[in-house]
């Protein structure tokens, strides 16, 4: 990528004499040359399996497919059986994806609220006597709200999903044993609800990390030009947060997708249950079952994470975010436990 001819330091002589760009020119900048912006950047080995270039990615995929056929030919498993049964998995896979995506989207809504509450812990204000009464009384509702949000997040993140699932399942089963809605019975809705609670908690932490990672100097700058707190939030904090949390939230979706397999223990017939029940037990072909499962999961997860890493690396605003997304996770995102490379 050639460097943008206008970028880089040119000292003080570039001002009045140089030809002016037409002011109405299109706003799109070409993707910047990232290497110029990071003096002293750490060595990054050219990793064939990371997505530095589509060529390496293509080679990786070809190797994987070749390996798959090789093992099949060697007799470890039966290729024809796998190819025949692959379409059977599409239904359960759809169910898994439904569970994952709907809980993720709904969870995002709640997580935004929780994240915002968690991002601003109420603090003692020594200058309170100089502020209006309405501001001084805000601690009355802010403390309980923050306590609730923190407790919720700690409970969800500190306990295994299995335990959460059983708690929700038993609670719903005993209270509404014959509940049915939109073709799903009580067990399915219990699983949905449990997954929803789980993903809301994790997404809330990612969002909180993103909110707290926005450079405080920019908030100062916005305040200094007289923008109100709401405007600062909407115009400065929020756009930058959304960019910062794209990769962590993708990882959270992938994590959600994997967590959905645990729903099989209460009888939900999703991808893992299909592979275990139908193939491994009924058809007595556990190795083929595992390979089938691997195909589904690798295709979805690896593709998604590679695509997002690629998108994140090439379409970033220059100067925003860390130089190596997997490495330089900001402190707050690290506390949230969701670094960019971690799912």
């Amino acid at each position: 990528m050639a460097g943008n001819p206008e970028s880089g330091s040119e000292g003080g002589a570039s001002s009045a004499g140089s030809p002016a760009l037409p002011l109405a020119s299109g706003p799109k900048q070409p993707p910047p040359d990232l290497s110029a912006l990071q003096p002293g950047r750490v060595r990054e080995p050219r990793n064939w399996a990371s997505v530095s270039s589509p060529l390496y990615l293509g080679i990786g995929v070809a190797c994987a497919i070749g390996f798959f056929f090789l093992l099949g030919a060697a007799g470890v498993y039966s290729l024809s059986f796998i190819i025949r049964t692959l379409p059977q998995g599409v239904g359960p896979c759809e169910l898994s994806l439904e569970f994952t995506t709907f809980t993720f989207l709904l969870g995002f809504v709640g997580a935004v609220g929780l994240g915002m509450v968690r991002a601003h812990p109420p603090q003692r204000d020594p200058t309170a006597s100089r502020k209006r009464l309405r501001t001084r009384l805000s601690w009355l509702w802010r403390w309980p709200l923050y306590g609730f949000a923190s407790g919720y997040v700690a409970a969800v993140r500190g306990t295994p999903f299995l335990v959460q699932l059983f708690i929700v399942y038993f609670a719903i089963i005993f209270t509404f044993p014959r509940f049915a809605f939109l073709g799903w019975d009580a067990a399915y809705w219990a699983g949905f609800f449990a997954l929803l609670i789980n993903t809301t908690g994790y997404q809330a932490e990612a969002i909180r990390g993103g909110l707290q990672s926005v450079d405080v100097g920019q908030i100062d700058g916005a305040k200094a030009v007289g923008m109100s707190r709401l405007q600062t939030f909407a115009r400065i904090t929020l756009p930058q947060t959304l960019r910062l949390i794209t990769l962590p939230l993708t990882n959270e979706w992938i994590s959600n997708f994997k967590t959905a397999t645990i729903l099989s223990v209460i009888g939900i017939f999703e991808l893992f249950d299909w592979s275990r029940t139908d193939i491994a037990l009924t058809d007595a072909r556990p190795i083929e079952a595992f390979v089938l499962l691997t195909i589904f999961y690798l295709v979805v997860n690896v593709t998604l994470s590679r695509v997002m890493t690629y998108v994140e690396k090439t379409r970033r605003i220059p100067g925003l975010g860390s130089p190596i997304p997997e490495v330089g996770t900001s402190k707050s995102l690290l506390e949230a436990g969701i670094g960019a490379g971690h799912y």
Binding site: S9, G12, P27, Q29, T127, R130, K131, Q231, I317, G319
Partner: protein, 243 residues
């Protein structure tokens, strides 16, 4: 342009007394330079003036308006007094022109065309007419700081505060920023500048204040402070800085 008066300003951060009773006067159209050792509270003083930090005690007057009045909207105060930071604090996700236009459109509610005209005017004034569609990270330090100055000037403030504007710049860029600030002073802007650039202070400042330990130790004209300082701490500081 307006005059700023500070009376009895005090600020503590926890147990740390940062400002211990500061009295200051900046006359209309005058330039005040604040010098002193690191950690003496100079930045906090500036941040109190435009209410980025709320003082514990004391009053600040802009012309005849008491800025510490709790019924006054801080946003309004900050639109009257512009501030330029040591670390520029430009909005990294916006182009240079949008950086300047943002507050005009959203804080002052000016429509897009007029905001754009003002932005173009201010950016030309600081000499960056050809960089309007660039992103801050693509500019040098001096250019970024000039954008920050343009952003503050676009609000048409009655006074400007500069918090060590050149401390984060390389030597070549320092000159371009000081030139802009000097021109501003000539045009009659009321300015308070915290700086280590003694040359700038000698040439441009009307009054200089030596600030240490949260208070004003000495005050006077540039020649009085730099060449004939009375207080021994002032003399010691000047000996270290001016060589």
């Amino acid at each position: 342009m307006s005059e700023i008066r500070v009376r009895g300003l005090k600020k503590n951060f926890g147990k740390l007394e940062v400002l211990r009773g500061v009295d200051l006067d900046i006359g209309s159209g005058k330039v005040l330079c604040i010098v002193g050792p690191s950690g003496s509270g100079k930045s906090t003083l500036l941040r109190c003036i435009n209410l980025l930090v709320m003082p514990d005690e004391g009053e600040i007057y802009l012309d005849s308006v008491a800025l510490t009045n709790p019924h006054l909207r801080p946003e309004w105060v900050r639109q009257q007094i512009g501030m330029v930071f040591q670390s520029f604090n430009l909005f990294t996700h916006l182009t240079v022109k949008k950086n300047v236009m943002l507050a005009l459109r959203h804080a002052k509610k000016i429509d897009r065309a007029a905001a754009e005209k003002t932005a173009v005017y201010q950016l030309t004034r600081v000499g960056l007419a050809d960089k309007m569609e660039a992103y801050p990270a693509q500019l040098s330090g001096g250019q970024q700081q000039r954008v920050a100055i343009a952003r503050a000037l676009a609000m048409d403030p009655k006074a400007m505060l500069f918090d060590e504007p050149t401390s984060a710049l390389d030597p070549e860029s320092i000159h371009e920023v000081l030139a802009v600030m000097g021109r501003l002073a000539e045009e009659g802007m009321t300015m308070a500048v915290v700086t280590h650039e003694m040359g700038f202070a000698k040439e441009v400042a009307d009054r200089v204040v030596f600030f240490d330990g949260g208070r004003v130790l000495e005050e006077g004209s540039p020649t009085e402070i730099f060449d004939r300082a009375g207080h021994e701490r002032t003399q010691a500081f000047m000996q270290k800085i001016l060589r």
